[in-house]
Assembly symmetry: C2
Homo-oligomer: 251 residues x 2
Amino acid sequence: MRETDFVSGFARGLKVIEAFGETTPRLAIADVAKATGLDRATARRCLLTLAELGYADYDGKFFVLTPKILRLGHAYLSATPLPHIVQPFLDKLAEEVHQSASASVLDGTEVVYIARASQKRVMSINLMPGSRLPAYCASMGRVLLAAMPEDEARALLKQTNLRSFTPRTLTDPAGLMEELARVREEGFAVIDQELELGLCSIAVPLENDRGRVVAAINIGAPAASVPAAEMAERYLEPLKGVARLLKSLLR
Amino acid sequence: MRETDFVSGFARGLKVIEAFGETTPRLAIADVAKATGLDRATARRCLLTLAELGYADYDGKFFVLTPKILRLGHAYLSATPLPHIVQPFLDKLAEEVHQSASASVLDGTEVVYIARASQKRVMSINLMPGSRLPAYCASMGRVLLAAMPEDEARALLKQTNLRSFTPRTLTDPAGLMEELARVREEGFAVIDQELELGLCSIAVPLENDRGRVVAAINIGAPAASVPAAEMAERYLEPLKGVARLLKSLLR
DNA sequence: CACAATATGTGCGATATATGAACAAATGTC
DNA sequence: GACATTTGTTCATATATCGCACATATTGTG
């Protein structure tokens, strides 16, 4: 790609949108400049553009994103067949096993939820399509990492901030690579309270009709009612069943 | 705002993202140019920029959005307190009444789902945060339209493409305004299969601590098991209860 | 209340981008 | 397989944006 095929104003604007996050819902011009590394004047122009287009509100001091921004992410969710195809299967699965079921794909070092059927909530955080979790300590993340070439997985782990969410979180790269090998071998991953105490989950890969892994699906359950040791016994077959059914539907 | 405070390259890029939709997941350069009204050269530059940044994939012919795009919408969902505050209440509500419960806000002529707790599915379409429905024929839409000044509501209806989704869809502007008056009076809206045959829903407004309507919540149920006439009887109090609890939590 | 510190607004030269036409390549049609 | 049509790419140039430096406004503090 030639240099002139890149619209840096657009790239800068996207950076500005991403500056808004959980802990930073209201941002002043200088905040955005700091967060994005853009010049203040540039950040200001981008923010005013967002406001002008209705993607943000501006009270003269702070900018806040408006729901119009959701049109952008929704462009993906509604344009991509995967979420639509998977959702009804998740619904049925969740109802059968009386636990939440989700589907996700990888974006960099994170898994991104693309569909979800939730039963009563066990996690403290609220997951929905678009939500992100670090791949290394999520069951679907393990499955997706295991599906890629070893050196790529290793490279991704290297970029990841491997922190301990609970005392059980596996953060050692070598240990993680071993675990990935096991997941690749056995065809599923179980997470025992590595992300949040009291929460277990099990995931399997979703292959398309040509055998390529395109996503992962999982079931989450409270550790109190379903010990990690029982996860596979109870939920592996239902998950595998859904994966089998979906294989011919995905490309 | 001065003219130079507008980054048109950014605005053009956002238009390009929105060109992707349910029926158009894969777009060639010329498609995007047509959909956005941009010059082909400009559309190409925006698309290549998206690809370069990892927001889109390009196979030399077609562009497809990647899950990275979800970061943008997620910036809103995670940055805005409302979805987080409301979600646990919806979860509890949905479990209590054994029906799906949702929250939404208005964006132009559409309601945008910002949180949802789904029980077994009754609708043919799959709703999730970010999903959109025309306001005029959705229960939450009626409530939100009723909350605004009459002439603004009338203006919005004028901009809306008032089509009949089912034989029961109310599409007459005068009739709709009357209905809005009724909703304003009674404090809730019931939709009887106007959007989809077999589906009823009831919605109430969500006020913040200063009495401003900031969102709406609803419950949807299959018409077969819950006739429209019973919707209010069964679900109005639970909805009102949630609205009361949330009032002091919202600003 | 005055001063410092921080944040926002603005004009301008240098630089980057959009435009539309012209060309090349691919695709569809008969 | 030749023609018509659509699509993608390139280029020169007119135009718009960037980032800097300075001006102004707001906020916090002793």
